[in-house]
Symmetry: C2
DNA sequence: TATGACATGTAACTATTGTTACTTATTGCC
DNA sequence: GGCAATAAGTAACAATAGTTACATGTCATA
């Protein structure tokens, strides 16, 4: 684990903290699609993302979903942070967007390290900051953009996350994440195709 | 200032920290409507809200607004926290919703107290937690509710905040905060009145 | 290759929200 | 009182998004 840790976090944490993480953290590999956190669940360890991407989802009363944002290498889940500290239930669902590697930190360490390491405090604060800003971005999209703009933004984000301009999603899957219907997505995608912005295929979309 | 401080924060902070706050904090009274923080502005002190309410707003590219949430007694602005720490610009606007009393803490103390006082760390973490949850609530409203439901929720929130079932807003003002048009609000309010849920008057609305 | 499951295309319609335009109060102020 | 500014009511229409229904295409596999 130590090499993954050093590669991704050595610029953030001092040596001593890296050693502690290496001692108490557990390494975890998860395949794409695996559920990391479920809504209503108590969280007992905090994930540091080493590689891959994780999507964070919110659910409405009918059980339908909405994508909030993606976590990437070097990120951690701010929701988890507070769940750990406050012993409250998760408000969100986390699913591996791609195959991912994580280091899981036991929650007992959170408080200890916050007192002991300035770099850890800064990391936690910065995580919160980033997550708040991501939620603001999400709010901007939902409140200020029309569905076709949201769709295009979503496709770009997916492409960026997977580092590939081919998006392996069905229209139905996209509709779920944007909290709309498959027909709406098909319609707007067709429009985007006519505008020359995408190329539509069965099970995948090419961003141009 | 010390009595306001003790009254609102003595259950959160230890005596020593309360003393420090009393020494370095400055007391501030702001009238309703006063702007506390502007978008793009650097923030040099952190507010602890002692009484009254503050509304937090987001702006779109056309300069139109959207209400994110309200801060109340005992709250602090999580956005400000990170702005202080990271020396980044504010992403939001803060305006006194009612007359309000604040204690302003110089940002230099943030880091110091985070190392020194567990209660301060917990306060900061909890603030982040609350703000994240409030943003999630906001997202739920925007993404999952129809405008009439959002309107009713907004009116209830306003009534709760001011502790008064009379809401002193014009349709135009409500429209701004919900990021829609005056005509839409007038239409929906009239519907709510026909359903017996509100009473409409010039410049104010009575929640029933 | 026949079949069923899944993915997509599309028409037709409804519902919701946004826009424009105009009217009718209400209020403060000269 | 007369006037201007502001607030609110409402009709008519446009734009966007959601829904239903059905047709067609693709693919794995029995």
């Amino acid at each position: 684990m130590i090499q993954e840790l050093i590669h991704n976090y050595s610029h953030l944490f001092e040596k001593e903290l890296l050693n502690e993480i290496n001692q108490v953290g557990t390494f975890k590999e998860v395949p794409e699609g695996d559920k990391l956190i479920e809504i209503g669940q108590y969280v007992r360890s905090m994930p540091l993302l080493v590689s891959g991407a994780v999507k964070i989802l919110r659910e409405d009363n009918d059980g339908d979903e909405l994508l909030l944002y993606f976590l990437e290498k070097g990120d951690t889940c701010a929701m988890t942070l507070t769940c750990c500290l406050g012993q409250t239930k998760s408000e969100i669902r986390a699913i591996a967007e791609t195959d991912a590697k994580l280091i899981m930190i036991p929650i007992e360490k959170m408080e200890e390290w916050s007192a002991k390491y300035k770099s850890w405090r800064n990391f936690v604060f910065e995580s919160y900051h980033n997550r708040l800003n991501e939620l603001l971005e999400t709010i901007d999209s939902i409140a200020f953009l029309k569905m076709d703009e949201r769709l295009l933004k979503y496709l770009n984000e997916k492409a960026r996350i997977s580092n590939d301009n081919i998006i392996n999603s069905t229209h139905q899957e996209i509709a779920y994440e944007l909290h709309t219907s498959r027909v709406v997505i098909s319609r707007l995608l067709k429009k985007l195709e006519n505008l020359g912005k995408v190329e539509l295929h069965r099970n995948h979309i090419v961003l141009k």
